[in-house]
């Protein structure tokens, strides 16, 4: 019976390890390779921490299982061994984890700075957001500046509006201004590993460089109400000409006066 | 202890099974269960031909005349708008006194603006011919003219304005399409046309949203056997087929708006039947 519990506690960590090993081949892992420059760095950090944690996990679970097994196989007539603790052991298992944690916190500093510190953003995106992404229960409202003019925080005449679809250039560092109209939301693009909370009252610049043109899913990652689960949008990364064409089409749609289509000629 | 654990596991797993079944829509109704659809063909039974679609016209007719009289002391209603009052658009809307038209009673108790009509075209009634001339529905000094009126269906109603301020005419019918349209100031041509395609069961309200005290009543019918009482409470309905008829007497200030739901009247050939409709003062709900 006692052996059962020892095996029980040894069994589940083995299952977990096995699941992690087969996860990528079964599609239980990340949705794709990180397709942004920051994404690679974020994934790198993730793997580093994963390795550290796995080693620790295996070691501690192994020790736990060993202790259980030893206790299980001990005769019931044997005397229990009492310990008054070991000062040396206490020091070791305080200093080693602290060292690991400090190491992790220092290693990730430059990536964090690139994500969060505006002065560390690439020069080309400084003060040049391409769109304002306003999160709202339960959709994403996009405002592009009039082509050829910079994006202002206050709506300007000629600004172009859309909802749930953002067009940005691929392979170029791009920045958007993240805002929210009501409660907290979060701008999360899993395939790019970009995630940033939208806080009411703040305008938060978020930059990314999408390596490959294509369609990316934008999800809300901060519980914002009953519709949080379906608060999705599309990010479409295409060539700069493609984005320009899209904005031109958007502008002409937005200026539709209902007459052009009747006689077939559009200006 | 073993039993306890086993029983707890039983409870929890059965709960899990039931909840999963319910959540996955296998049990009970629920949003995700695909519904059944049964088709009902067009057509259905051919309904009996209703009144109004008669084989022959009657040959003997009579006339109904009468008065709607308020029995009891009529309350005096204060003016809706006093001349010179400080209200919106006062140069136009407060240029004259505007009385409260909900109850207009003549000196001897005759109630104006009451509707006397048959609910349905009677058997043998004369066929309906809508007047080809459009009806001119006017407004002046923020007051509709006329206050109560009967039309026949498909008659064109032109909304005119004799005021230098904008009005909008907003109708609230049951069977017809509601109209809510602006009327330009001093529109003497009547650019806004209203056509009632269906008869109504009771008169419908007509309002102005800019000047909420303005009101009028329209009653489109598919037969001509209706009348609105004049300022003395008098009404006349000619050419009624001989026989028993059941009239509705409707007035906006009555409790429930019906003065009489089923006023039985016998019409005799060639004769004028006179009717006095009593409108008790305690029926008023103002």
């Amino acid at each position: 019976m006692k052996k059962f519990w020892a095996l029980f506690f040894w069994f589940w960590p083995l299952v977990a390890l096995y699941a992690c090993l087969i996860a990528p081949s079964r599609g239980w892992w990340f949705p794709s390779a990180p397709l942004s420059t920051l994404g690679h760095q974020i994934d790198g950090l993730f793997y580093l921490i994963l390795i550290i944690v796995t080693v620790t996990f295996v070691a501690t679970q192994g020790a736990l299982g060993y202790a259980l097994w030893k206790g299980a196989t001990k005769g019931s007539n044997e005397k229990a061994w009492f310990s008054h603790g070991s000062h040396k052991l206490e020091i070791i298992w305080t200093i080693v984890p602290s060292f690991i944690l400090v190491f992790i916190s220092i290693t990730q500093l430059d990536v964090l700075a690139e994500i969060r510190v505006i002065s560390k953003f690439p020069d080309s995106v400084q003060n040049a957001p391409v769109a304002e992404v306003m999160a709202r229960q339960f959709e994403w409202r996009i405002r592009y500046p009039k082509p050829g003019t910079p994006l202002m925080n206050v709506a300007q005449p000629g600004d172009l509006y859309f909802v749930n679809e953002v067009h940005v250039p691929a392979a170029i560092p791009t920045m958007i201004n993240l805002r929210t109209q009501d409660v907290q939301h979060a701008f999360f693009v899993p395939r790019l590993r970009v995630k940033q909370d939208a806080v009411p009252g703040l305008i938060i610049p978020v930059w990314f460089e999408i390596e490959k043109a294509g369609e990316y899913e934008l999800l809300c990652a901060e519980l914002c109400g009953w519709g949080h689960y379906k608060m999705k949008a599309r990010i479409i990364a295409e060539s700069p000409e493609g984005v320009r064409d899209y904005l031109t089409r958007l502008e002409s749609d937005q200026n539709e006066d209902g007459v052009a289509e009747a006689d077939g000629s559009k200006e | 202890m073993k039993n306890f654990i086993r029983n707890q596991c039983l409870v929890l797993s059965s709960a899990a099974v039931v909840l999963t079944a319910v959540g996955c829509g296998r049990v009970g109704g629920g949003a995700t269960v695909v519904p059944d659809v049964t088709f009902i063909p067009v057509g259905g039974e051919e309904a009996e031909v209703s009144v109004g679609d008669v084989a022959e016209t009657a040959t003997a007719f009579g006339t109904l005349t009468g008065r709607v009289v308020l029995t009891g002391t009529a309350p005096t209603l204060p003016l809706i708008v006093q001349k010179g009052a400080e209200i919106k658009d006062k140069e136009v809307c407060a240029a004259v006194d505007v009385p409260d038209e909900r109850l207009v009673v003549s000196g001897d108790g005759g109630v104006a603006n009451a509707f006397v009509y048959l609910a349905k075209a009677p058997k043998g009634g004369k066929p309906l011919t809508a007047d080809p001339e459009p009806f001119l529905f006017d407004q002046k000094n923020c007051r509709f003219y006329p206050h109560s009126v009967v039309f026949q269906v498909d008659r064109v109603v032109r909304v005119l304005s004799n005021d230098t301020v904008a009005h909008n005419t907003h109708t609230y019918p049951d069977r017809n399409q509601s109209v809510n349209s602006g009327v330009a100031p001093m529109d003497r041509d009547g650019t806004l046309e209203i056509v009632y395609r269906k008869s109504e069961v009771v008169p419908l309200a007509v309002k102005c949203d800019y000047h909420a005290w303005m009101s009028a009543w329209h009653l489109p019918l598919d037969h001509p056997y209706a009348s609105v009482t004049d300022e003395n409470g008098k009404f006349t309905i000619p050419d009624l087929p001989v026989g028993e008829h059941s009239f509705i007497v409707w007035h906006e200030a009555a409790n429930g708006k019906f003065v009489q739901r089923k006023l039985a009247v016998e019409i005799k050939a060639g004769e004028e039947t006179d009717l006095k409709v009593d409108y008790p003062v305690d029926l008023l709900k103002l």
Binding site: M231 | N3, V18, V22, G30, D36, F39, H170
Partner: protein
């Protein structure tokens, strides 16, 4: 100790299962809610008498309930599948085959799983298909029908597929606000201002059709795709096109059902509502009233029930026609300062009188917004000041300085708002105003949010060269 535990555990198991059953399971008999007007009729009018079915049965027999929907083929709803008629039918001991030809204007679906016979001796039979060939119209039925289909019988192939899909999607995405019956009283609706749309008037506010027409499918699709900014209606842009269209059909179905119920009740309410009957009891007996109702239900209501369907069909079909759409007779006037000033002058003028509701500066604070008004139908004062819509919800005039245009911000959208008004609200239609004047007002409105001070028109007009005019 163990005995007492096991006995109470049995009870506990039973109790928990019972609780779950009560809370989670329904008895499978879901139903559409009935409007409050229906429920204000006397019971005999609602439920019918020996004379004939009442409002509820008449309604249910034509629309069904959410689990057992009824597709009344008179209504202009795209039910899914195709209408066809049986050309020939062959039956052997083991199987039944039919060959169908599609009705005019319909195409047989590529995939079909069921056939339903709607006319002839075998009407009402619904049979699954074992095989289906849409090119030839040949089908093998999965079972032998009890009545053999005859040539000329009308049927529906894979009928209701769109409606079913629409209903499932609607319940998942829409019903929590709009209610299962489209009454705008779903569980989350309580917390919202403005309230979600109650479809049962058959009225939708933001359309591209003229003031006397219903909303077209394109209008409803537009709302689904782009949402209504400034309200709780989100955009469903990411749903597939077929899914959006299925939802639109189901919403139209619910709107037709609601309007049908409303019109049915109108026929009865002036004489047979609770209030009317209690008034009548002063001079008549209840027995007389009920027998009169019985005659009405037998003689008159059936014909009305059919003609109401015709009315709905006519109205909703007309909404799709080109004639219903608002097309300005002049292209948008160039957006210059002069045009905007002219627009402002029109806005303030007594001809259009916009300022009465929308305020001198377009802030939605005109004098109408503080007046107490009466419900035009019941003549009772509304509890709060200001304007109300046909759903009796407070419906204040838009604050035009915010730049939020619920029905869309394109010039044509604003034109349609002014030309047709906003159906169901107090915003009237200005269809007699010259279209050029409407464009001036539109130009003014689009510039309003950028005014540095009211009436200033401080923002310069954009140069025309870029728009290529």
């Amino acid at each position: 100790m163990e005995n007492s535990i096991s006995i109470s555990l049995k009870n506990r198991i039973l109790l928990s299962l019972l609780t779950l059953a009560v809370s989670g399971c329904s008895d499978g008999d879901s139903s559409f809610s009935y409007s409050s007007r229906t429920q204000s009729l006397i019971a005999e009018a609602q439920n019918g008498t020996d004379g004939g079915p009442g409002v509820k049965q008449t309604l249910d027999s034509r629309f069904g309930n959410p689990q057992q929907l009824k597709a009344w083929m008179k209504l202009p709803v795209k039910w899914g599948g195709a209408s066809a008629s049986v050309e020939s039918a062959a039956e052997s001991d083991t199987e039944s085959r039919i060959k169908v030809i599609a009705k005019e204007g319909e195409t047989l679906p590529a995939v079909a799983t069921s056939v339903q016979f709607v006319s002839g001796q075998g009407a009402g039979q619904s049979i699954l298909l074992k095989s289906w060939d849409d090119k030839t119209g040949e089908a093998v039925l999965a079972e032998i029908p009890s009545v053999k289909p005859a040539s000329g019988d009308e049927c529906v192939i894979d009928g209701g597929s769109t409606l079913k899909s629409g209903r499932v999607l609607y319940m998942r995405h829409c019903s929590h606000c709009h209610g299962a019956a489209g009454d705008g009283k779903g569980p989350t609706a309580e917390y919202m201002i403005p309230k979600p749309r109650d479809y049962r008037h058959g009225v939708f506010k933001f359309t591209s059709t003229n003031d006397l027409s219903k909303a077209s499918r394109a209008d409803l699709l537009r709302i689904l795709k782009y949402g209504i900014p400034g309200t709780y209606m989100p955009s469903f842009l990411l749903m597939k096109e077929e899914e959006l269209q299925a939802i639109v059909e189901y919403v139209r179905f619910l709107a037709m059902r609601g309007e049908y119920e409303r019109r049915l009740v109108s026929e009865l309410s002036s004489d047979y509502s609770e209030k009317a009957v209690s008034d009548r009891l002063g001079s008549e007996t209840r027995k007389d009233i009920v027998s009169e109702l019985q005659e009405f239900l037998k003689d008159e209501l059936p014909e009305t029930a059919e003609s109401l369907g015709d009315d709905l069909s006519e109205a909703w079909t007309a909404a799709e026609a080109e004639e219903s759409k608002i097309i300005p007779n002049v292209a948008r006037v160039e957006d210059t300062t002069e045009s905007r000033q002219r627009g402002r002058a029109l806005y303030l003028s007594k001809t259009l009188n916009c300022a009465d509701c929308h305020g001198i500066d377009g802030a939605g604070n005109g004098p109408q917004t503080v007046a107490f008004e009466k419900n035009p139908v019941t003549n009772e004062l509304y509890p709060e000041a200001g304007l109300h819509d046909v759903w009796d919800n407070p419906n204040q005039p838009r604050n035009l300085q915010r730049g939020i245009f619920r029905g869309g911000r394109r010039p044509i959208d604003l034109f349609a708002r002014i030309h047709a008004g906003i159906k169901g609200s107090r915003m009237p239609s200005f269809k007699s105003t010259p279209h050029e004047d409407i464009w001036h007002v539109v130009n003014y409105l689009l510039s309003l949010q950028f005014e540095s001070e009211p009436g200033a028109i401080a923002v310069k007009a954009t140069a025309p060269a870029e728009t290529g005019e």
